[in-house]
Amino acid sequence: MTEAPPRRIRRWRATFPRLSRFALEHLLLLPFGASIALVWVNAAPESYYRVTYAMAFAVNDVAMMFFFALMTKEVVEATAPGGVLHPWRRALLPMIASIGATAVPALMYLRVIDALEEPMLALAWPVSFATDIAVSYFVARLIFRLHPAIPFLLLLAIASDTLGFVALALFDPTRELHLVRGILIMAVAIGVAAALRRARVRSFWPYLVAAGGISWVAFFLSGFHPALALVPIVPFLPHAARDPGFFVDARATARDALSQFEVWWRYPAQVTLFFFGLVNAGVPLHALEPGTWGLPMAVVAGKPLGILVAAGAALAAGLHLPHKVGWRELIVVGFTTAIGFSVGLFFCTALLPPGQLHSETSMGVLLTLAGAPLAIFTAMLLRVGRFAR
């Protein structure tokens, strides 16, 4: 009779297929597009810029709307029973931690940029807020498996990115805001979405086309980035009573509008990410200037430090860390959330038009991928997650 394989091998086999499926569905096309961009821009830069500049508006200002809509969908479902944001009190400590996870890297970034004598790069400080939720989640699952640190990390990443979007809206150096105009048009969009919800419209298409279309116009004319146009509309889509799980794909047979939206747009959004990587990740190697290092240095050092400081303040105020989450886990979470990648590239492109500043900062965003091996190595060193004894 053959012996059963050791338990850890059985666990790895059980985990790996799910993670590899997750990676295939969520993580491959963006790096693929980014890789093509890196090769192309360094081999034939003029043709790269000519082609991608022509595509930039369609990709960044229109198509990316669907990617952020799907991210919003995850957050909306997470507020349902069974979700990481339910009840909302669970989010309190990660939200406090996100203040540290954003403020400390931003301050460190400004200090480093000042020391490097690259004052124009200071405009890019909101990029230090960015966390690529999907990549960070994947790395965290590799380290922690099914550990309470995972929902903590997800909430932290969502909160940090939300703060980043707010900073982007308020401190964009090139956009002029027209708030009154935007609010008036947005009110119409919200009104349409609310009316559709009240009328129990089950199909997502009216929400997308009518409310979403008006919302896009509102964002565009107000000076806010139009890729976020579906973010205020998605919460109006009727959704399931329980959260199926973060990054758990909706079943094709699901009846609610939000799930149907995801089923329909899941793969087009991945294709969008391919083109996003292609259009925005093309950084010439000579962009590796001293200023490039400002961002990775700030987030790799600042995120863990900021989280520790903020968590310490929260504990002093009487809050509690999740079970099995201590300072060692927080450090590893900090390195994991330092990975900016897709969101970092988006912030960079939204803030900085083409030129040296954009190239340097984009290169810095790509270098934040170093957070992944750092997180894994630190987890091994500190015996955290799967490396715990």
């Binding site: 003029e46 810029y49 004598e117 150096p173 038009p353 083409p354 030129g355």
Partner: protein
Amino acid sequence: MISPKHRILPTLIVAAAAASASLLAQPASLPNRSDSVKFAAIGDNGTGDRPQYDVAQQMVRVHATFRFDLVIMLGDNMYGGQSPADFVRKFEQPYAPLLTAGVKFQASIGNHDRPDQVSYKPYNMNGQRYYTYTRGNVRFFALDSNLMDRKQLAWIESALRDAREDWKICYFHHPLYSNASRHGSSLDLRVLLEPIFLKYGVNVVFSGHDHVYERIKPQKGIYYFVSGAAGQLRKGNMEPSDQTAAAFDQDQSFVVVEIAGAEMFFQAISRTGQTVDSGVIRRQSSRSD
């Protein structure tokens, strides 16, 4: 003068057609006419070090006989600290004789400059990152190549379209063409700006960023100068290509220019007062003419 490894012989280029531009690269002194537009161009100057002061003294020496009333600043106007004391040490002191003589400095912003320099009065930017002004029959366009956003591109296009002067000169920090090895050409900006420049008949472009002097052969009819060594210097950084008409990377330098009618005379002068390049450019017939 020029680094021995990359010696460049002076050449004489003769225009092949009546409508096309011609360049006489034999040394030519500035005619110093009373009704011409005269200006100097400096880039990457604001170090506060001895070489910057030496270059400034050369500018004062030249100004004694060649009374330029304008200096265009090609960015990186200030390095390091940018406190009021730094503005004195790195700008007001070295160029004091010129400022006292009423020479107007019109700056553009480089990557080492703080954004609030647009409000520093002696730079005459009037709070604008990009702006335009005229001198005689020359319209100058100072651009912000750090943040070449859609709004600036739209502004450039409309400003160039509306300009009626004979000469259109653009200047900004990052060069569209450069053969210095440290930075080189900003191809991303070239793809954005060159079509606009060609469409609306820009004649000459000055840039800094690379700490050398280089004169580029006309590219699609537009003349390019890199003059980024008025304080900084990267010795031996030039890697001349077939685009290079002249180059100098052994010492700091600046450029003086005189535009008289349809001709632009230029002279690149080193920190020690040597003429390292000179010539005359005949104004191209514009596509928009």
